[in-house]
């Protein structure tokens, strides 16, 4: 594993190496069209740390999350969890692995079976792995609901009797039931009210310290990623374009796409907001069916030159622990202003 992943985290829990997920597209009469949803993604996450994965809709964030957990089998590449390549796991081994790795989905409304009481929902992980019975099981479930800050009487209600934030707490309770080490949070607060978002993010942080959890936190909201992450990866069209420590990314973004994302976050002060430099991206995300040649971002990049159309930028370490894929990373600071 000779990549940035190992360099960023000397003792990683999860290492993703050149992960690819392609989908065959049968649209039209083109037989061999392939959607490269995730096209060579590598990163690592240290134990107890959080990697924030940002990018706009359709860039492959969620696909990455599901492929990392082997919920969606990767086309190629490897995912090492505690040193073992889990992309090859099948059957019993895979089911056993599920105790260690969990996922939380975006929509708390469809994440819970509406026909089951909360108690049954929370008992299910234990029943699947035959862990507790009778009184022990009840005690464990009550402990869970308490950990996510819901009252015990919530157990005998149905999911539809709860608000979005409360439902997401139930989803989190189920995800931590088996005491996993690693949780993929796939836009877990995007569907919630802003006021509830911070509560849930704080819950994630509290559980992280209490249970020593490692998160892959997928989001399109930079302020939330800034709040929760230790490291940040920026995805564009199936590739990570910038990766580094949170401070490095937020204080000195090197990729023009990262800069554009940052400038889209509103600033609290109206005057600074009015007077700041804003980078507006032209057009939409290109189709992953037919990604642009060279640098994938060149069609929308304010700095794009001839070279960007021909040559795919190399993945290089520009600053210490700050990786970027752009020909002009050093010039981003000046070039944009």
């Amino acid at each position: 594993m000779e990549n940035e992943a190992t360099v960023l985290n000397p003792d990683p829990l999860v290492v993703v190496d050149n992960l690819k997920k392609y989908y065959a597209s049968r649209q039209g009469n083109r037989k061999d069209s392939v959607v490269k949803a995730v096209d060579g993604v590598s990163f690592s996450i240290g134990a107890g740390k959080t990697l924030g994965l940002v990018g706009e809709s359709g860039c492959g964030k969620s696909t990455t999350g599901q492929a990392v957990l082997n919920l969606d089998r990767a086309t190629s590449g490897q995912v090492f969890f505690q040193g073992k390549d889990i992309t090859q796991f099948k059957g019993k081994a895979l089911r056993y692995l599920r105790k260690e790795i969990q996922i939380i989905f975006q929509d708390p409304y469809s994440s819970l079976n509406s026909r089951m009481r909360v108690r049954d929902i929370l008992e299910e992980p234990f029943k699947i792995h035959r862990l507790y019975r009778g009184r022990e099981l009840t005690a464990e479930v009550e402990k869970l609901i308490d950990m996510v800050g819901l009252p015990k009487n919530a157990l005998d209600k149905y999911p539809h009797q709860f608000s979005g934030g409360q439902r997401q707490r139930i989803v989190i309770a189920r995800a931590i039931a088996l005491r996993p080490k690693f949780i993929v949070c796939d836009e877990p607060v995007s569907a919630l009210d802003v006021s509830v978002q911070s509560q849930i993010v704080n819950l994630f942080r509290r559980l992280q310290t209490e249970l020593n959890l490692t998160y892959l936190f997928i989001s399109h909201d930079l302020s939330i990623v800034r709040h929760i992450s230790d490291q940040v990866g920026v995805m564009y069209l199936g590739k990570i374009v910038e990766l580094g420590d949170k401070q490095a990314i937020f204080s000195k973004p090197l990729h023009p796409y990262t800069k554009a994302l940052m400038s889209a976050v509103p600033l609290p002060h109206p005057e600074t907001q009015r007077n700041r430099e804003k980078i507006k991206l032209k057009g939409d995300l290109p189709s992953p069916l037919n990604p642009p040649t060279g640098c994938r971002f060149h069609t929308r990049c304010p700095l794009a030159q001839e070279r960007c159309k021909r040559e795919e930028p190399a993945w290089r370490e520009v600053d210490a622990k700050h990786w970027v894929a752009c020909h002009f990373a050093e010039g981003v600071e000046e070039g944009v202003q």
């Binding site: 949803a37 089911r95 692995l97 996922i103 079976n113 009797q161 608000s163």
Partner: protein, 303 residues
């Protein structure tokens, strides 16, 4: 899967206290009250089907050409003919009672057979997808494309006409309808996050199907089943009519309908009373099906 980052509208905590207007409506919305007439009809139907002799006052197959085609209410020394007599002088009332047994047996059994076959095949097709789905669903299309009567004649020709064979034929012919609905519902359910979440917890396929998919698939199947019960009564009638179903002189509503239609201008009661019986039971079963579907849905207001 790539998801659009659309903010889902927030639903607040539901108010559990009922407003006054709803309280007033509550009495009328009570399940038992709404369902009472239909439940009564179904219970009567089941009792009649199980023991027609308790209510019928004549032998349903006793012919007496001297009293053929008598009006409802006709009575002589042997007793009252409440719903009149048919072209062979048999008591229509008794025949309707005895016919209930055949109709209930054939319709419920064939709906059960086709519902179970179709439901299971549909779930398997929807869950496993790929080649399994192709085989099952194309098979369903094939069955649908074979003319029903042709298949019925074929089966009866091979197996011989009997009540059991009638049920087999109807079951084999009608399963694609359930299979299609079950497959669609399974596909929709499998793609929901809660199923993915359970798979992510390490659940085996069997658990996912039994605990999470079947409860989702059953309610729409029940609704189809209740509609099919009516259709099965009609199908039984048409098969009996061409001599492939219930053999005369055994009374069934279907055979009574088809025999009675020849005399419709002279004796309206021959076809009307079995028709009325079919109508009542089909409506009742449909209403009951809707009710069961609502009861199975925890989000329904009827609970």
């Amino acid at each position: 899967m790539i998801k659009p980052n659309i903010e889902t509208p927030q639903l607040g905590e539901r108010n559990t206290a009922l407003p006054l207007r709803e309280k007033r409506l509550k009495f009328w919305k009570r399940d038992w009250f709404q369902m009472l007439p239909f439940s009564v009809i179904i219970v009567i139907f089941v009792i009649v089907a199980l023991a027609p002799g308790w209510i019928a006052n004549h032998n349903p197959n006793l012919t007496d050409l001297a009293i053929r085609l008598k009006n409802p209410g006709f009575h002589n020394a042997t007793g009252t003919y409440l719903l009149g007599t048919d072209e062979l002088g048999r008591d229509v009332f008794s025949r309707v009672m005895y016919g209930a047994r055949v109709s209930l047996l054939v319709s419920l059994c064939s709906v059960g057979v086709s519902g179970i076959i179709g439901g299971l095949l549909g779930i398997i097709a929807g869950y496993y997808g790929r080649i399994v789905e192709t085989i099952i669903m194309r098979l369903a299309d094939m069955v649908l494309s074979i003319p029903f009567l042709l298949l019925a004649i074929l089966t009866v020709a091979v197996l011989g006409p009997s009540l059991f064979n009638l049920i087999v034929v109807l079951g084999l012919v009608r399963w694609p309808r359930y299979a299609r609905v079950a497959q669609g519902k399974t596909l929709a359910t499998v793609n929901q996050d809660f199923v993915k979440g359970v798979i992510a917890l390490g659940a085996k396929s069997g658990r996912v199907i039994i605990r999470h998919i079947i409860p989702e698939v059953i309610p729409p199947l029940i609704v189809i089943g209740t509609i099919e019960v009516g259709l099965m009564i009609i199908y039984e009638a048409s098969l009996s009519f061409i001599g492939l179903g219930v053999q005369p002189p055994t009374a069934s509503w279907g055979t009574m309908l088809s025999e009675g239609q020849q005399y419709l201008t002279q004796a309206w009661w021959l076809a009307s009373f079995p028709g009325l019986a079919i109508f009542l039971i089909v409506v009742s079963i449909n209403m009951f099906g809707d009710y069961i579907r609502d009861r199975l849905d925890p989000k329904s207001k009827r609970r």
